[in-house]
């Protein structure tokens, strides 16, 4: 079963890249693969270069160092990623102590600073995870990921299951931290609008492959691939008369990675599929400058691409 099939992505230092797609499209697998966090039974091929170093061939000791200091990951389920029996302060300080970067006293000080940085009072270090609300727990997760000054943060659905207002708070916090500390951000979500708002570039994944990639605003508002168009129409713009009383979705279900359709994997759900789509897989093509889409309808001559269904 191929969860991720041939993904090429580049993220420049200080840049923010969004990866969109729905459950089972391989976006979380991709995030875990970046830090080699997949189970041993998973087979990885290709290269993952972090600051020029290949993560896949790295020695174990170096990988451990990279996992904390080079890149860190913020998971979606903040409740499950925090250990329920330890105080949050101890959990934030843990990597500092493990890597011998700080004395216990210094680690405590750093923890307090980190908590304030993510907008929590330093005194909350003594709290247990269950004493915090969902938004506060997500802040703790972010503080943990910042503990060792990483160059890259991978945020996997950081705001899913949070209320709109809390979601706005967390997104704003992430944006601000990334801007202040010149950290690169790889953010994964199913909500194209949220990603377009936060990130510089967007990649849309379907069935383990990137089907569209380009500048965030362009991918969101003028997508070329019909799947990316459907994703951006899924969350309507309030005030837009076209979406009033007209919810738009795609028929069918996301494909099972174990039994992918032939040809273009999107063709069974595609409103503009051609007969050839059942046979021919489409590579990414240039649709506009710095903007690529993997659709038969995309040709560089017509930058507008296909019209919305």
């Amino acid at each position: 079963m191929h969860a991720v099939r041939g993904v090429d992505l580049t993220l420049a230092a200080g840049q923010k890249l969004g990866v969109a797609g729905e459950s089972g499209c391989g976006k979380s697998t991709l995030a875990l693969a970046l830090l080699r966090l997949l189970p041993a039974s998973a087979h990885l091929s290709g290269e993952i270069l972090l600051d020029g170093e290949d993560v896949l061939t790295m020695k174990w000791g170096r990988l451990r160092a990279v996992r904390w200091a080079g890149a860190s990951i913020v998971f979606q389920g903040a409740m499950h990623s925090l250990n329920a029996v330890h105080r949050i302060g101890d959990q934030i300080a843990e990597p500092l102590l493990i890597h011998g970067r700080a004395t216990p006293a210094a680690a405590r000080k750093r923890t307090a600073a980190l908590l304030e940085q993510v907008g929590l009072p330093a005194a909350r270090a003594d709290a247990y995870p269950h004493e915090l609300s969902g938004g506060q727990r997500q802040r703790v997760m972010i503080a943990m990921s910042l503990a060792c000054d990483p160059h890259l943060i991978v945020a996997d659905e950081p705001t899913t299951a949070l209320d709109v207002m809390i979601q706005a708070q967390i997104l704003r916090l992430i944006e601000q931290l990334v801007a202040d500390q010149n950290i690169s951000l790889l953010m994964i979500s199913h909500d194209l609008a949220v990603l377009a708002d936060t990130c510089d570039r967007l990649a849309v994944m379907y069935a383990g492959r990137v089907v569209e990639e380009g500048p965030a605003a362009a991918v969101h508002t003028a997508a070329h691939h019909p799947y990316a168009q459907a994703l951006s129409a899924a969350f309507p713009r309030i005030g837009d008369p076209a979406s009033r009383r007209a919810p738009r979705g795609l028929p069918g279900d996301p494909p099972d990675p174990a039994r992918l359709p032939t040809g273009c994997t999107f063709h069974p759900r595609c409103p503009v599929a051609l007969a050839s789509c059942t046979q021919d897989d489409q590579p990414l093509r240039e649709a506009a400058p710095h903007h690529h889409a993997a659709c038969v309808h995309v040709s560089p001559a017509i930058p507008q691409g296909v019209s919305a269904p």
Partner: protein
Amino acid sequence: MTTSESTPPPETGSTPPPATGAAPQGKARSLTWERRRTSVARFWRQYRSHRAGLYGLGALLLIAAIALAAPLLVGSDVQNVTGAPGKALESPSSRFPLGTDQYGRSLFGLLLYGARISLSVGLMAAALSVAIGTLIGILAGHFGGWFATVVMRITDWFLVMPALVLAIVLATVLSQSVWTVVLAIGVTSWPTTARLVRAQTLAVESRPYIERAQALGGGHGHIMARHVLPNVMPLVLAQTTLLISSAILTEATLAFLGLGDPNVVSWGGMLQEARETGAVSSGHWWYLAPPGLAIAVVALAFTLCGRAVESVLNPKLGTSR
């Protein structure tokens, strides 16, 4: 997590039933039958992959067959003391493969007959115990409040009470019969089941489908019977198979202590008689060892089956995956 495509038909052989013009009642029934058949087939397919469970099952089927056929194999008058065929305490011979007891009865015949009592008492006692435990567990889990508090305190009281002692007291007070032994074991061993079932009931009751059933208009009975019971059944089934072996052991213990039914032969009773006739000191291993081994084999077979059933029905517990 597991998303399957909508277009292809289901892979597990659940083909759509033929839409023939039969009566609606018949259609519904055939549907139910079809569904049960598929789920039994699925259960068996998974059970087959547990080799230890297969050995246990094979041993059980063999023992059950022997127990059922005992009268045909060794004649129905083996237990008869008056017309015993041999002399007292003979050594194994071609006529008496395991020798004779102090009355001259064939120990081999008695051993086969003993399987009847051990199996039936074990099964009935486990069934009784699990029935009590399930009923109490579901009621306590479903209704909650002061009712649950009272019931669970009683359960705790039974749980900390030494079950064997209680069973001895019951078996002493009541008349000496097989039913007393069943009752004594059943009444003393339910608290673990009740605790397990209550915990599972609470977990099931917190699921959204319980709320959906309430919103559909389902009452207490509907929720307990249609939603809670099917979801605790795997647990109960596994618990039953595991309890049978301990019930067989308890039965043997009670019989060994002389509290069994004196009119029937059981493995525990054979051991007791062996001890009384001094088989231990005189080295009559053929009197002592076979009933002891038989108890161990049956208990082991049930445990193996129980573990296999448990890991098929509750894949999260098992080590098979």
